[in-house]
């Protein structure tokens, strides 16, 4: 059975030591993570930050928005073909404005979906956690099998953790 350990640190250096220690003890990357109440510079804890594909979302959203708006603006004018001053039914410049807004709107909506998806939210079972993390403590969390529990706990303890929780 697997268990989760959460070590709470006040000093970022100690948290970074714990992360290094876990890596050196042979725990696989992705089984341990660091939790903070504020963004730290990337790599401050020697943590693994996976690649993301966020920028595909707005591009996809923009294509959808553009296509829908092109259809909508064309179809509404053709559905009620009101000739004004002998000019063509399709008023391209007016269409462009609405298409622009709808393309941007769709890009924004898909970006937000992308941010939430790439943040792996909503997270229904967030796992081991401590409210003090949003108060300045740094959490180092690892999920291990029973036989590795002591080894992981010792690494975190030796790195100078203030408190350890096991669930």
């Amino acid at each position: 059975m697997s268990k989760s350990i959460l070590g709470l640190f006040l000093d970022p250096n100690h948290a970074a030591d714990a992360m290094d220690g876990l890596k050196e003890s042979g725990f696989e990357r992705g089984t341990f993570d660091v939790l903070t109440g504020t963004p730290y510079p990337e790599g401050a804890f020697g943590e693994y930050v996976p690649q993301h594909r966020l920028f595909r979302f707005p591009a996809f959203g923009a294509i959808i928005g553009f296509t829908v708006s092109l259809f909508l603006t064309t179809a509404t004018q053709l559905a009620y073909p009101l000739v004004t001053g002998g000019k063509p039914i399709l008023s391209i410049f007016a269409m462009l404005i609405i298409m622009y807004e709808m393309t941007m709107l769709s890009a924004v909506i898909f970006s937000v979906i992308g941010i939430i998806f790439e943040s792996r939210l909503p997270n229904i079972k967030p796992g081991i956690y401590d409210p003090r993390i949003t108060e300045g403590y740094i959490g180092v969390v690892i999920t291990v099998e029973d036989e590795d529990l002591n080894k992981a706990q010792k690494v975190i303890e030796n790195s100078g953790s203030e408190e350890i929780k096991v669930v």
Partner: protein, 467 residues
Amino acid sequence: MQQRDNQNRLSQEYTNRVLLNGTLSTPRWWYPLVSVLLFFVVIGFILFGIQIKYGLGVTGLNRPVYWGLYITTFVFWVGISHAGIMISAILRITQAEWRRPVTRAAEILTIFSLATALVFPLIHAGRTWRIVYWLIPYDAARGIWPNIRSPLFMDPIAISTYLTGSTLFLFVALIPDLAVLRDRTTGFRKGFYTILALGWRGNPRQWKMQVVGGILLSALMLPIFVSVHSIVSWDFAVTPAVEGWHSTIFAPYFVIGAVHSGVSAVVTMMALMRWGWGWNDFIRPEHFDALARLLTVVATAWLGFTFLELLFALYGLDAPEIALREMQIFQYPWNLLFLTFLLTGYILPVPMWLFKRVRTNIALMFWSSILVNIGMWLERFLIIVPGLARKSPFVFTWEAYSPSWFEWYVLFWSFCWVTLLMLLFSRVFPLVPLFEQKESEVFSDSIKIGRATVPTIFREEEEEEED
């Protein structure tokens, strides 16, 4: 935990405690103020009902002045809404450190002022329910669809896009702060924040998405921000029949004016937040200083556009246009309004902001920002009304426009309404972004250069993204 560490940085516990003092507890002034505002807001709704019953006859609107105080106030609130993206997006992209305590309030101001602006065309329409004919394909049997060629249709599309985008932008940036609230509440409130926080833990992946996503959304919102007030300006600029409206520079003129009034409104709000919630450690004189410097540049650019607009109008020596400008600038009562507009919009506040002593004096910044918005409201009034109020050939019904007390009350109502919404928001969500503030503390330090100790901000190197 101590309030400040040995490097003079505020502790996260202190940041949470102070910045959530309006959310986790109720300031003493909150209930009396909300009650008074609620009273005025309810009266406004009653008057709105009366207007629906008796029609637009209760206003001063009549031919030829069919757009008056309601539309002026609509443009004014759309202008105020430009605060959010100006502060939040532009300053985020340019990594201006001083934006941090201001972003959330500016974004909220954007949302509530836009929502309020959207109400004004409804009020102005008189028969409000008929708005549906304007925006929605209401009668499939007759095959009538909204006229996409009309700026009056483009306008709600642009504003809705801006409102939706700004709301989503706000929500994304709120998630880490919702987790702070989740960790500090119990019972029903904890359940509420737990749902909204979506299970946020604060791991590096989530923080990276906050930072990258924030910049991405800022970059996407900027073109929308520019388009919104441009399209609002086209409500007027594409109308060749009204002198003073048909101008090619209206789009950038409106956008820069909106930034001027929006950023001034943020200054007003920051002063009120500092006084109301006692956030002296977070909203500091240097923030007002930075905003005043920004406003000086924006206001001067805006003044340039104001004169360009006059110059282009007079360049053609078109008799009706000259007559309009003569009336707008020299005839009573327009001349008084024009003078007040110039004095309050530029001549009084901007020279004041040239002095550091004024820029770091919060009371003076508060009053000068109020002056700007008086001027900016008058600017919209002077653009919209005189062109319609001037007697034109073949106009058989003509009279000048004098807003009724009804319209003045609705203008007053809009300020009460926006303030009420902001105060209600402040009881549920933090007005200053906690994580941005904490991030600033992580990245701040001080270094010794010779005998001087200089405060510094560290910045991460941007890495190439590999997709």
